[in-house]
């Protein structure tokens, strides 16, 4: 036991003292925070960031009058000239960015078919460069709005009344349990589930591969021969796995700590920005914006009402057992091969269930957390760390959670047994190409 502790200590210290560990620990949260900051900034400031496009409107038929409204992206200007030719010269001289030519004349085709349309056709937007989808869309929307108002009036509909009609629906989703009703928010559960499962997936891969590398390093440098003359191969394997697990936990805790230190700074910055942004927007567009209660606020409320001890303890459980299960397999692979290139054929069957579970989790399970398939997948130890973590925020029945955990523990013990047998044979075998058949035989060797 004492010796396992020694091995754990070495594996832990060697990795934590590495420069890459420090860089990863401090850089990753900064990068993530920076990335989110950048995205928020871009989303909030996209109008200011894109230049306002000057659009010269040539409308000899006077269909639109001067009713087109300007926005941050588009500034409409009007001209009384009749022909677009001279304006095209001005366009080349960059007096404005685009020329919107609305020919006089009605949509005769539609009228002929008995339609009511009075809309112009053959409209052209000309510029020195292609108009962006945003610019094009805004111009089109504005034109449609003006025509719609015109048609409402023609049909005798009071547009002022129409604008006042604004039905507003918000569904409060609650979950009933024996203890009482709880409000929940599917979107928040969705996001938490996805993030948690991706984290578990990443951790298993990152640290599982580290275990494999460590085993291979010991095997190829022949240190293993010295060490297993003092400890059992199984002790060495478990010491390494646990030591690296502690490195992962340390890193995770440091990330949590760092982001909880960083996030207030970032979120106050974002909040201040969003508040002014939202208020100005609501003032500007009272007529067009639908809801006055912001969905973001609801989400914040839902985030605050999450049962964090439950989430975090489930996360830690599935993180640890999932990591232990997979890293035992990775250790067995490391022991069976002689070089990095040979790992490929054995890596595939290990990565496949992991990749499968992350794909099916983010595409299916998260939308159908209580379907039969989801329940079954969350019971199978190879899939459950990722799949169950997606289901956890949706509060699956307790018996399912406990059963999944039990299977996970059994699965972990089984895998460690199998991996231990492959490990102790493989670690001392050099210069031999190993096949799956061979691995199968090793399971039943006498020690």
């Amino acid at each position: 036991m004492n010796k396992i502790l020694l091995i754990i200590q070495r594996e832990y210290l060697v990795r934590v003292r590495k420069r890459t560990f420090l860089i990863m620990t401090f850089l990753v949260p900064l990068l993530i925070a920076g990335m989110y900051g950048l995205i928020f900034y871009l989303v909030l400031n996209q109008n200011q960031l894109s230049n306002q496009q000057k659009v010269m409107v040539l409308d000899p038929g006077k269909t639109f009058g001067k009713n087109l409204q300007n926005s941050n992206a588009v500034l409409f200007q009007y001209t009384n000239q009749k022909s677009p030719d001279s304006l095209k010269k001005a366009l080349l001289q960059k007096k404005f960015d685009f020329l919107l030519y609305i020919p006089a004349g009605k949509d005769t085709a539609l009228s002929a078919m008995g339609g009511e349309s009075q809309d112009p056709r053959g409209i052209q937007l000309t510029g020195q460069k292609q108009a962006s989808i945003q610019t094009l869309g805004q111009i089109q929307d504005e034109m449609e709005r003006v025509l719609k108002n015109r048609d409402y009036q023609a049909a005798g509909i009071d547009t002022a009344k129409l604008n006042r009609i604004k039905p507003k629906i918000h569904i409060d989703n609650t979950v009933i349990t024996a203890e009482g009703e709880k409000s929940s928010d599917s979107l928040v559960s969705f996001i938490i589930g996805i993030i948690a499962s991706i984290l578990i997936y990443m951790f298993i891969f990152l640290y599982g591969v580290q275990v494999m590398r460590g085993v291979m390093e010991e095997k190829t440098s022949r240190v293993v021969e010295v060490i297993i003359s003092s400890v059992k191969p199984f002790q060495l394997m478990m010491g390494k796995i646990i030591g690296i697990a502690l490195v992962g936990l340390t890193q995770f805790l440091l990330w949590v700590l760092l982001s909880s230190l960083l996030s207030p700074i970032i979120s106050t910055g974002i909040n201040a920005k969003t508040k002014t942004e939202i208020s100005t927007k609501t003032l500007q567009n009272t007529s067009t914006v639908n809801g006055s209660s912001s969905p973001g606020l609801e989400m914040l409320k839902a985030l605050g009402s999450q049962n964090y001890p439950y989430l975090i303890s489930c996360f830690l459980f599935y993180f640890l057992t999932g990591y232990l299960l997979y890293s035992a397999l990775f250790a067995a692979v490391g022991a069976a091969v002689d070089s990095e290139t040979e790992t490929q054929q054995f890596m595939l069957p290990i990565s496949l269930p992991l990749v499968f579970s992350i794909i099916i989790s983010s595409n299916y399970v998260v939308n159908n957390p209580d379907s039969t398939l989801s329940v079954w997948l969350s019971m199978i130890p190879l899939f459950s760390p990722v799949v169950m973590m997606v289901r956890v925020p949706f509060h699956p029945p307790l018996w399912q959670l406990l059963l999944s955990m039990l299977f996970m523990i059994l699965g972990f013990l089984g895998t460690v047994w199998v991996a231990g047998r492959i490990y102790r044979t493989g670690i001392l075998l050099y210069g031999k190409k190993i096949t799956f058949k061979e691995l199968g035989k090793w399971l039943f060797y006498k020690s």
Partner: protein
């Protein structure tokens, strides 16, 4: 010290050891000799309890070999290996602690050993920055630091230059004088008779010869002597008495060499017969070396 009784180990497609028995006496330097693939490493791994034999048993100082004996055995494997990125001092401390020493004790002993082998400057160097010979020294320290009463050295001199090989050899003899029993495994047999008090030859998983080095050599003595001389041997060829047999004769650059087998009497009789006729430069008994015996035995089997 160590009693190996009828050990057999079979791998999937070949037999590594079949019915091997050995008695290693306390205080001996026991040579385990054999060509590559004879089964030496398999036997060593069984003694180290890295693998278990299919049948047979091993007794360590009268007790069946158990995990608790690990601390009493030091093992220098043929395939040397250290953690490349780890500091030398830390590494020695780690390996010593795995053998059951406390950190404090390991530190004092490691410092002493580094001083003794004059490598104290390397303490904080990384293993990958050391030459191969330097790594060997570090590995040797890691093997002996817990002062095991029984030491297994698998090809201990490979990788050393002659000077360092001599230093290590002296350290091994030193440990032996202090009472350490040594199992010395090698396939290089030059001068092995000077080093080992006992030996076992194994070939193709079987023991083909064992015993005290002296006894083995004695059993191969044939009372034959080589004589270097100047003079004309041909002249007296016909006068050689019947109890001396001239086995070979060759002419070298500076002197001639004749080999006589003495069928009756002693070497003095031979000398007194020869003295009046030739000038003797040197006499030595021709005993086959362990290497000769080994090659002879292996080609027989």
């Amino acid at each position: 010290m160590l009693s190996i009784r009828d050990i057999t180990k079979v791998y999937a497609n070949h037999t590594a050891l079949s019915g091997l028995s050995m008695e290693i006496e306390k205080g001996s330097i026991y040579g385990l000799l054999g060509p590559n693939g004879a089964g030496k490493t398999s036997l060593i791994r069984i003694i180290n309890q890295i693998t278990a034999p299919d049948s047979g048993s091993i007794f360590f100082e009268g007790e069946p070999l158990q995990p608790k004996h690990i601390g009493a055995i030091g093992y220098l494997p043929e395939e040397r290996g250290l953690y490349k990125k780890m500091e030398v001092g830390e590494q020695v401390l780690y390996l010593a602690q795995l053998k059951g020493l406390s950190r404090k004790e390991a530190l004092t002993r490691a410092k002493n050993w580094f001083l003794q082998l004059e490598i104290q400057d390397w303490w904080t160097k990384k293993v990958e920055d050391l030459s191969k010979g330097m790594q060997q020294k570090v590995q040797f320290i890691a093997t002996v630091i817990h002062e095991p009463p029984f030491l297994i050295l698998d090809e201990p001199f490979t990788g050393f230059d002659p000077i360092n090989a001599e230093i290590i050899k002296q350290e091994i003899l030193n440990l032996n004088r202090k009472g350490t029993t040594i199992l010395f495994s090698t396939h290089r047999l030059e001068n092995i008779e000077e080093f080992c008090t006992h030996l076992t030859l194994i070939n193709q998983s079987k023991k083909i010869l064992d015993g005290k080095t002296k006894d083995i050599l004695n059993s191969y003595r044939s009372n034959t002597y080589k004589i270097d001389f100047i003079g004309n041997l041909d002249a007296i060829k016909n006068q050689i008495p019947h109890h001396f047999e001239l086995k070979s004769f060759k002419t070298g650059a500076e002197y001639q060499e004749a080999e006589f087998k003495i069928l009756d009497g002693g070497v003095n009789d031979l000398v007194s017969f020869l003295l009046p006729h030739i000038q003797i430069q040197g006499i030595r008994e021709s005993i086959p070396s362990i290497q000769d015996i080994f090659i002879q035995k292996v080609s027989q089997s």
